[in-house]
Symmetry: C2
Subunit: 219 residues, 2 copies
DNA sequence: ACTAAATGTTAGAGTTACCTAATTTTATTT
DNA sequence: AAATAAAATTAGGTAACTCTAACATTTAGT
């Protein structure tokens, strides 16, 4: 069954909201926020998705994806993240420019296209934001992600993403030559202001603030 | 002004129909055929495009693109052909598989994407079907294209496209190792059945039928 | 338990892009 | 110049997706 852009966007929104909620479901207003519409539009769509068996919905209750719905949502996420990787790796888009275009590209319908793209990119595992790319059969690498600020002194870890994507933050990262994949060793945790003494590859050593370390995700 | 998929498809259809007509315009029924709708839908759309100044339309007369409309149409064609080239060159799609997916990709809205894609592909001049790719400012290489069947004996020419894109024909071409860019020398024109004696690169020599030669475009 | 606030739903309507059936205009024959 | 055929248009309607305003339900605060 061929879904519309709109249906796919809703499924993706419900998927990511459910993933954050500890009850595995999403609320009407949350969805409206996420897909930039008003709550009545969400209700209409939930009814439609429910008749298509993509979602289990009872009025006044939070929605849940069915396994069918989840499968579709994950494929959309896969496409989104593969396109982001393409834009970043092959077309030299910046970190913060890829999302908007991928938001459109994720709706192109072609099995073959996405499998060939995956192959062309060398089967990447993480997108430019460090988010895991689901595999063709829907499996997602879910290595637990820590804030850099939680890492013990003496440990070496690897950057897999960020919490903040403001351009101030991204520019600072660029200046430090820190990106996805960068290895960081935590040398010392400074009790006074919770800042960290760290070293990046090649022993280049600096102090970073707690605010910085809270926004860098590592494994 | 951001146009819809549908509006873009209509403009593209009117553009290519106008190019074929010697009066530089297109008829309602022709457009309906091309975009796979019914004539009343076309009339609706023509009225809309007319209020947007993309088309000059008077009822019961043939439509013409305004210069604005032509500009938009050419940009859509540019995107279509660049994406076809990407699919063919980078993702190893076959000649006859690229069109359908490009039909979707041509509607992605992003200036930057298309310029970067063009650069990534090395500013190609022809798409996988041998059709010219308009430049960023809308210029189109219009080297006159001849049928192979029109070429004089003794002349060497180069394949730039085909008239038929049936898979029977494409498979035959593949078997002969003939593709875009292949050089062909016409050795002899056989009066009896208008077939041609030709040689491909490396002196490999064969006879091809008139039907074949009518469907191979060369410069 | 009662009230107020927050959340969610229904009613009714607009837009885009289609459709079929009926009608009008233009083009082609005789 | 009629008559007929072809092409184009209008009328009226549907489906998807969105909205605002009004109403219903649930939740949280006292
Ligand atoms: Mn999207
Ligand atoms: Mn991402
Ligand atoms: Mn298209
Ligand atoms: Mn083409």
């Amino acid at each position: 069954m061929e879904l519309s852009h709109s249906e796919e966007n809703y499924l993706k929104a419900i998927y990511s909201l459910s993933a954050m909620s500890d009850t595995g479901d999403a609320a009407t207003n949350e969805i409206a926020d996420r897909v930039q519409t008003k709550p009545p539009s969400v209700v209409d769509m939930l009814k439609k998705l429910a008749t298509k068996k993509l979602v289990t919905y009872e009025k006044y209750k939070r929605v849940q994806l069915t396994s069918q719905g989840k499968k579709v949502a994950i494929q959309v996420v896969r496409k989104h993240r593969l396109w982001e990787t393409f834009l970043f790796e092959k077309l030299q888009f910046n970190w913060d420019e890829v999302h908007e275009v991928a938001e459109q590209l994720e709706h192109i319908h072609s099995e073959k296209l996405i499998e060939r793209l995956d192959q062309f990119l060398g089967h990447p595992v993480y997108d430019p934001h460090g988010d895991p790319i689901p595999s063709a059969n829907g499996e997602i690498k879910t290595a637990k992600r820590y804030k850099l600020s939680e890492i013990e002194a003496g440990t070496t870890c690897q950057v897999v993403g960020v919490n903040d994507s403001s351009s101030d933050f991204l520019m600072y990262l660029q200046q430090l030559s820190v990106g996805i994949g960068t290895k960081i060793k935590v040398l010392e945790r400074i009790a006074f202001d919770h800042s960290l003494m760290v070293s990046f590859k090649k022993g280049h050593q600096t102090v970073v603030s707690k605010k910085f370390a809270d926004n860098v995700l590592v494994t």
